[in-house]
């Protein structure tokens, strides 16, 4: 390779890494460091008291335990779902692949309530079937609801990993070498999925560590205390400066916990460019096996979705049209008031801003996530992945405050909120793309780089097509999460930049579930409207390329 051809790429590469590190510093490092500064300056005398406060040890244990348990349950469930949905003989496969993501539609701010309403005392199952699940309020309920919420993430990461890495020929080669379906799974598919599973585990663990609404609504009444609920309690009494510093210290503790778990995981299980992909051989996995198996899978999936999504959504819908809390959702108690109350100018503007913010944030995040996924393959960039995950674990309130402290002098309102979304959700965009990116053929990549392209450009031009599902998945996850995000935007908004969060928190504070539920229903409709065209495009992309490949690669 002539030296001249490589020099522009070199400079370009260094610029890229520098640019990304600068962004990471702005979004992640600076806020965290300002928090550390606050904790050190103001709280140095209190560390002893803060860290030995009664109940803190248990809260930390609970948080960690929750993280581990939810990860241990949700990731295998997500993987099993992704594998089950590969079978071409599954009836209505296209439908199930979307349906599996539905739990994501229930926003966190009503998640606890809708489960309680569905399964708790005096809830749906209690009044209709006489079967309450009082355990819904308590550690079991917290775990179950967090698992249900995490399975779509694990499923998504595994599915895009499968799509990118588990080529049908690899499975066929194993079958033709004497391996039955189970042996193929064990010896070929699972090893191929390792980066995706690792990415999913890290993401689910961190998200669980950071979860607040579910432990608070479903856990607190039963005495389940997590670090996040303690932080919120501290902030609630935060007029006392000690409480605020305690909140900051605890938040940094969470960051430390995340680092301790995530960094080694990333180092050991992290992605390595492993394979040389030659022909784009297509087609679906081996189409043998019992035809009737598909029916059972459909039944299993259907029941799971009914329990995990259907009933809570139904409870929510019921609440949105019921006149008052506590009245049975019978037709004579129905009212459109909650919805008509929403139809005022302020709410529309707020929703419009939130949707706009979510779209912009999701798009920027996809780019940022892809950039980290590409650049983390360098030795120097490996820690980027861990770094980017740190802001995910910070509870929304603390991250918002950190950004306020860091940039409040110069930025306000929507700009700060956008920064908050970018900082918090970066890992959400990064991990799905990272899990799928592993299959870049180095030969093609080198060729692109030798002609002067930088790493990002090479990745863009060479890898975009097979990556498209992962990119779309990342965008959708970020969009939905940003749209549902309540705490940070409620904290950072300014005059004229009211977002949905303000409206939501207002109606929640009044203790009237009807308007809050109506808002969730409205949001769900909005999300379907926004995500549907994207999903169609995604399916057409996937269908077109896979049917092309099927016909071309197989004849």
């Amino acid at each position: 390779m002539p030296r001249l051809a490589s020099r522009p790429a070199d400079v370009g590469q260094r610029f890229e890494v520098a640019a990304l590190v600068a962004v990471a510093a702005l979004l992640v490092l600076v806020p965290i460091l300002r928090l550390v500064e606050t904790a050190v300056d103001e709280g140095a005398s209190q560390y002893g008291a803060v860290l030995t406060a009664p109940g803190l040890g248990e809260a930390v244990r609970t948080s960690l335990l929750l993280g581990v348990v939810v990860t241990a349950v949700a990731v295998p469930l997500g993987m099993v779902t992704a594998l089950a949905l590969r079978q071409p003989q599954l009836p209505g496969r296209g439908f199930w692949r979307v349906a599996v993501l539905l739990p994501v539609l229930v926003p966190e701010f009503v998640l606890g309530y809708s489960w309680q309403q569905a399964y708790g005392r005096a809830g749906f199952t209690d009044t209709l079937l006489g079967v309450p699940f009082p355990g819904v309020v308590g550690p079991v309920g917290v775990v179950v609801v967090l698992v249900v919420n995490a399975v779509p993430i694990a499923y998504l990461l595994t599915a895009v990993g499968l799509a990118a890495r588990a080529e049908p020929d690899l499975e066929r080669a194993a079958r033709a070498s004497g391996a039955g379906s189970l042996a193929v799974l064990r010896t070929v598919i699972l090893p191929l999925l390792r980066p995706s599973l690792a990415a999913a585990s890290v993401l689910v663990f961190v998200v669980t560590l950071a979860s607040f609404a579910v432990p608070q609504v479903l856990g607190a009444p039963a005495g389940v205390d997590t670090v996040t609920t303690r932080i919120y309690a501290d902030l609630s009494l935060g007029a006392h400066p000690n409480s605020f510093v305690e909140a900051v210290t605890l938040a940094l503790l969470l960051v430390l916990l995340a680092v301790v778990v995530v960094a080694p995981a990333d180092a050991v299980l992290g992605p390595r460019l492993r394979s040389v992909r030659v022909a784009d051989s297509g087609g679906s996995p081996v189409a043998v096996g019992r035809r009737s198996g598909g029916g059972w899978v459909a039944l299993g999936l259907g029941s799971y979705l009914l329990v995990a999504v259907g009933v809570p959504l139904l409870a929510l819908a019921g609440a949105s049209v019921t006149r008052a809390v506590g009245l049975p959702p019978a037709p004579d108690n129905w009212t459109g008031d909650h919805f008509s109350q929403l139809l005022d100018q302020r709410t529309f503007e707020a929703i419009g801003r939130s949707v706009g913010l979510a779209v912009v944030a999701a798009s920027l995040l996809t780019v940022l996530g892809a950039a980290v996924a590409v650049l983390e393959r360098r030795r120097a960039g490996r820690s980027l992945a861990t770094l980017v995950t740190l802001t995910l674990v910070l509870p929304g309130s603390t991250l918002a405050v950190a950004l306020l402290i860091a940039y409040g002098r110069w930025l306000s309102g929507l700009w700060l909120i956008l920064l908050a979304y970018l900082a918090k959700l970066w890992a959400f965009a990064h991990r799905p793309i990272s899990g799928a990116l592993d299959r870049l053929p180095p030969g093609e990549l080198h060729a692109a780089r030798a002609s002067g392209a930088t790493a990002v450009t090479a990745a863009r031009t060479v890898a975009l097509r097979p990556l498209a599902p992962a990119l779309v998945a990342a965008w959708l996850v970020c969009f939905v999460t940003a749209l549902h995000e309540v705490t940070m935007s409620a904290l950072l908004y300014g005059p004229g930049s009211e977002t949905l969060a303000v409206v939501v928190l207002n109606s929640q504070e009044l203790g009237r579930i009807g308007p809050t539920a109506a808002l969730s229903v409205l949001l769900t409709g909005l999300m379907a409207a926004a995500a549907a065209p994207l999903w169609l495009a995604f399916r057409r992309l996937g269908a077109a390329s896979s049917s092309d490949r099927e016909l071309a690669g197989v004849r």
Binding site: P241, G352, L491
Partner: protein
């Protein structure tokens, strides 16, 4: 690639929309602008601000969030250049006292402050609305006549309380009971022994009782009456010795001392006009003789000793959390 085309397109579109959205409140009507931070609910604050803006031409920029977020916002402000509010309207005296102790607000009282009963004000802040913590019960449950009834067998495993670590109003109530003979913290120990459950906020208590998840609970009058008005199957009691009054004070930011519009706003809140409006939109006014939301004749009310509670709040909370966990 479609994906690639959508992303930048949407980004550009979004970025174009942002200034439009941001610039919403750009032009004021020529008057001045003050910034109000509050945790009081929308339904109360918005009409009051509107009326004030109309009558004076002063623009009020509003930041409204629950107490936790409000505290965080103020803490963030302080560490990034100073409090950006001119007026802070809180939901309980403990929080405002905290701000006074930090030197953020206080040091000024409106001329008409003397009209408000002394138990609802200090030199640094004046209460303009009151919350009452009272008891709700399911329709089919016997109404508790006294607070101590809740420790009785009729309410075993069926009482819900708000968490004082989250809701300062609840902390005020704990402080009241702690200092009350015949109650003390034993009251809460008895409740716990009777199977009472602690939820995060007073609103959750009300909702839970309305749904039938709990038999009875301690919640805020506003939530209770709102639910009852909607048609929820609950009953409301102002139990003896009395519903606990938590007043919501308003204070001037120390950096805004001398700001005429800010002082005008606070004066307005305390004035009869302002108090009437507050009463009309669903909050209990502090000015005597002004009509407000439902309050039965001779409904008993008790008033916590705020200075004492403020002084000992850490110990109070710690002792309480021995009973009901952290």
């Amino acid at each position: 690639m479609r994906t690639q085309r959508i992303a930048p397109g949407a980004a550009v579109l979004g970025l174009l929309l942002l200034p439009v959205a941001c610039g919403d409140d750009g032009g004021s009507s020529g008057g001045e602008t003050i910034t109000l931070y509050t945790c009081v609910s929308d339904t109360t604050v918005e009409p009051v601000i509107d009326a004030f803006e109309v009558s004076t031409g002063t623009q009020v920029d509003l930041f409204r969030a629950p107490t936790g977020e409000l505290n965080a916002r103020i803490a963030g402000d302080v560490r990034s250049g100073g409090l950006r509010a001119d007026v802070v309207w809180g939901c309980d005296p403990l929080t405002l006292q905290g701000y006074v102790d930090q030197g953020l607000v206080g040091g000024w009282a409106p001329a008409n402050a003397a009209d408000v009963p002394e138990r609802f004000r200090t030199d640094d802040y004046v209460g303009v609305a009151v919350l009452y913590l009272l008891a709700v019960h399911g329709d089919d449950v016997q109404p508790p006549q006294e607070w101590s009834d809740l420790t009785g067998p009729e309410y075993a495993d069926g009482v819900a309380l708000p968490d004082p670590a989250f809701a300062a109003s609840a902390l005020g109530a704990v402080g009241y009971f702690e200092g009350q003979s015949g109650y003390g913290l034993d009251f809460f120990a008895d409740l716990e022994g009777n199977g009472a459950v602690q939820v995060a906020s007073p609103d959750e208590v009300a909702t839970g009782v309305a749904q039938g998840a709990y038999k009875a609970g301690i919640t805020i009058a506003n939530s209770a009456y709102a639910l009852q008005g909607d048609g929820s199957p609950i009953g409301i009691v102002w139990p003896r010795p009395g519903a606990v009054a938590i007043y919501g004070p308003v204070a001037l930011a120390t950096d805004s001392e001398g700001s005429a519009p800010a002082e005008e706003f606070i004066t307005y809140l305390v004035s009869e006009k302002g108090q009437r409006l507050i009463g009309e939109v669903g909050s209990y006014p502090t000015l005597p003789g002004v009509p407000g939301p439902t309050r039965p004749e001779d409904a008993p009310v008790v008033y916590p000793d705020w200075p004492a509670i403020t002084a000992g709040q850490e110990d109070l909370l710690a002792d309480y959390q021995q009973i009901f966990g952290g």
